[in-house]
């Protein structure tokens, strides 16, 4: 790897000022993605600013009942936090389904939001890639696309966002707090990541030098249920083929399992992972299910309507039925309160 200057930030604003002034500077947090990229030659910064000592590792309750998650909170600590586990199980489950215990101990909340695609061509500097080297071409077009997008892709890039956490945050309507040279601003997670369009080198709406300082989770109404389900090629330590984050409440507030039949959905917030360049909010399905009885048929039809816009690639047509089935199962289980199948039997990592 190319030699670089290393410095340690002690103040967020100073770090932002330094980084903004120098396009060759990158922030280093957990390093679980960036260090790999340095070794592989995917990126070669002149300077790294270590931000792990910044005082951004707290989790605080907000006055409105939400939670503010410091950007430097480690994934393991966030997943294990009692308030997160009890009020936002979708987030805890998503975090624990990602990476390995060792990586989660190092990876941070802010860094997880910024992890880059695992597209095999992005990760090999001997092949063209528009995301890595704008204008060089997309090797995934006509190549290996099992893990690639079925929604929102462009001719310039077929890559998917690999994060589990971000999918849960999208379904929670979380906001990202960003510090720039003009001060702090708040960006909805759903608008934080971009679709590739003709600028696939840009994963997010951040400008160079912007520093993520926190993520804010909104308060959820009483009776809200949430779950994360990840489908992958092995039982642990694999990126999602398809994942589903769902946050729902019910009009009859008791939900489930009454002898009178299925409950009626109130608000449904549904995000799909592994299918697009960003966590994919399934707004078509959400709209179709709002106020609808939570029957298998309704859920399935809503997902089919959502996925009607999907464009499968050579190796990933299966993602359409897989996403439909998985989302249907998650919503069914949230509606019936059964929960079977949400944690897979072998997934001992589920809290």
């Amino acid at each position: 790897m190319k030699p670089f200057e290393f410095q340690r930030a002690t103040d967020p604003s100073e770090a932002v000022a330094t980084a903004t002034a120098d396009p060759g500077t990158r922030y280093l947090a957990g390093g679980t993605n960036l260090v790999d990229h340095l070794k592989l030659g995917i990126t070669a910064p002149e300077r790294l600013i270590d931000i792990t000592r910044l005082p951004l590792d707290g989790i605080e309750e907000l006055p409105d009942g939400g939670l503010r998650l410091g950007a430097m909170v480690r994934n393991s600590d966030l997943a294990a936090h009692p308030q997160v586990r009890s009020r936002y199980p979708v987030l805890s489950q998503a975090l624990l389904s990602g990476a390995s215990g060792q990586l989660r101990n190092a990876a941070t909340t802010g860094g997880n939001l910024l992890q880059r695609t695992r597209c095999v061509y992005f990760q090999d500097v001997t092949t063209p890639c528009n995301k890595r080297e704008p204008g060089s071409g997309c090797s995934a077009l006509g190549g290996y696309t099992r893990y690639h997008a079925i929604l929102g892709a462009s001719e310039h890039c077929l890559a998917v966002n690999p994060s589990d956490m971000s999918v849960a945050l999208a379904a929670l309507d979380a906001h990202v707090t960003v510090l720039g040279t003009d001060g702090e601003r708040s960006i909805p997670v759903t608008e934080f990541h971009r679709l590739p369009g003709d600028e696939p080198n840009r994963d997010t709406v951040l400008e160079h030098g912007d520093l993520i300082t926190a993520v804010e989770l909104p308060a959820l109404p009483a009776g809200t249920r949430s779950a994360y389900r990840k489908v992958r090629d092995r039982a642990s330590y694999a990126f999602a083929l398809v994942s589903v984050a769902a946050v729902v409440d019910f009009e009859d507030d008791g939900g489930a399992g009454t002898s009178a039949g299925p409950p009626t959905f109130g608000t449904v917030r549904l995000a799909l992972g592994g299918v697009a360049h960003k966590p994919w909010r399934a707004t078509v399905a959400e709209e179709a299910l709002r106020g609808a009885p939570a029957t298998e048929e309704n859920i399935r039809q809503a997902l089919e309507a959502e996925l009607a816009q999907a464009v499968p690639l050579h190796d990933n047509a299966f993602k359409i039925p897989m996403a439909r089935n998985t989302a249907t199962a998650v919503l069914r289980e949230l509606a019936t309160g059964s929960g079977t199948g949400t944690p897979t039997p072998e997934n001992r990592e589920q809290p």
Binding site: D124, F239, T326, E346
Partner: protein, 693 residues
Amino acid sequence: MTVQHTGTAGQDLERIDGVAKVRGLAPYAYEHQVDNPLYLHPLQATISRGRIETIDTTQAQAAPGVVAVMTHLDAPRLAGTDDAELAILQSPAVGFRGQFIGAVLAETPEAARAAAALVRVEYTEEPHEAELRADRDDLYAPEQVNAGFPTDTRDGDPESAIAAAQVVVDQTYTTPFEHNNPMEPHTTVAQWVGDELVLHDSTQGVHPVRQTLAPVFGIAPEKIRVIAPNVGGGFGSKGVPHAHVVLTAMAAQRSNGRPVKYALTRQQMFFLAGYRTPTIQHVRLGADASGQLSGIIHDVIEQTSRIKEFAEQTAVPARMMYAAENRATSHRVAKLDVPVPSWMRAPGECPGMFGPEVAMDELAEACGIDPIELRVLNEPDIDPESGKPFASRHLVECLREGARRFGWADRDPQPRSRLVDGWYTGTGVASSTYPARRQTGNTARIRHDRAGRYSVQIGAVDIGTGAWTALTQIAAEALGCNAADIDLQIGDTDFPVATVAGGSTGTTSWGAAIIAAAQAFRDRHGDQPAVGAHAEGEAGENPAAQEYALHSFGAQFAEVQVHADTGEIRVSRMLGVFSAGRIINPRTARSQFLGGMTMGLGMALHENSVMDPRFGMIVNHDFAEYHIPTNADVRDMEAVWLDEVDEHAGKLGARGIGEIGIVGAAAAIANAAYHATGIRVRDLPLTADRFLA
């Protein structure tokens, strides 16, 4: 002397190297302390076929910490270039993407890697081919296949037998490109001391490395010393030295006598360390309505590299597995512009027991009989291939014992009939086999160091199997002393010659030499040897191999769960029952069996090196994308064995256990997946998308 089987061999001894390993004190190749080393990072071709026109190393030469950059323009000339895999940097020709085309030597590994990225290469590219397909018109029959087996065999008239059969299975099965991926990467530390080459190498055989490299460098084998006390897995990929050993030794000729260290990155291991060819297996079985086989045909298509032939012996097990009067097997090979395939985890038997053992499951269903009974029905009296009696063939006992332990009697044969908590659940079985060979050319030396203590030397290598422990036990038993009185010394060409840790031959071949040395020692020095007394012994061929067919057998059972919504597939239970002759150490043996079964699980569900033929490159070239089983994938797994001593397997009575654990495992899982879901998948790996409804 007869070896009494009541001695220390057979005892459940802890690994004698275990404590050092868990404390990090057992040095692997890269960890040997050498003075003032240089670090190597290679240059690799980024085309699949063609030639280098220009190679500009100016920037790299000037980079900080760089001592030398070596390319085909200035590399030392090799004395022997017959082996095209090893004849690197001798010409501008490129034979496959990723091939070595140079190296940077620097004061740190980081500096070497950074400088390597500064080298600019221009090529003239020629069209390449990297995709194995059954419809290629350039498939050819190699002269022989790996391990010297005939390419084709034919007994009787299987086509006519199958045409006339009441029940026929005629299907094509495929196994993908797979990479061995031992945890310790291939690593060489090379230093020239005068005209002698010293190598700390991560290898399965120190003497084989010396024998292979001597003609390449044009020096006597005795001028090469190879040291490998601890090796972190090989699975065949370290069975022969690959090009990185040559590259490192060449670089050490340009280092002013300084040692040169090189460990392949994980990504490089997908280009340069061997792999298993993909296989396309056409299997035809003909039987009567009861399931009695009349014909077996196994035709295999596979690949090799255009620069060097390695033809896996995939169809070999079909030649001896089941009784059928009419049998034919064949291998046809495509030469592609791809890296050189090599040995990987039971070459031949492992892929070759996938297609036929799934076909047997299909035949059992077609005949309406239990798959175990089908195998019992077709059990041969003698080896169908050689006509010799089997020294020991306990396949039926393995199947019966497995059925009893696994609860097979309760099985409802109807597929897709059990849904447990949202998971379709089924069970499957397959047979396993592996030949029992003994390598000749092993010598051991025994010396009475001090009262009651013996040093035992042989150039064997423990690649993680437990050889340190098992050979100590064998030596103690042969000398009639305690294991604690043996000072075993292995992993160095300074010790007497030994063959490769491969083909499941290590323990039996090296053990035979140790037994021979012990016999020579006692013959010469008696039971009261003087301190300093010593003797050598050499093991010859196993004479019983002339009269008997020597094979191990086993039965693999699997329970598989497939999620009704998502198609996810998990192996909830595995049982292997093996007949492998005498077991020298039950603790390390169990580890080896379980390791083999786990690799079989990986073969069944995960492993798949994805070739992008446009680039001629495996694109999923790291452990995040190339999946092997994680702990969470390995659930209830059990390995047991029949209590036996094979009296035809030499004085030791053992047949070797390194590879049989993987054989048949993938077929058992595929058969269980069919029973779970009613979906017959004939192409590995079995992934969720194949089971989605």
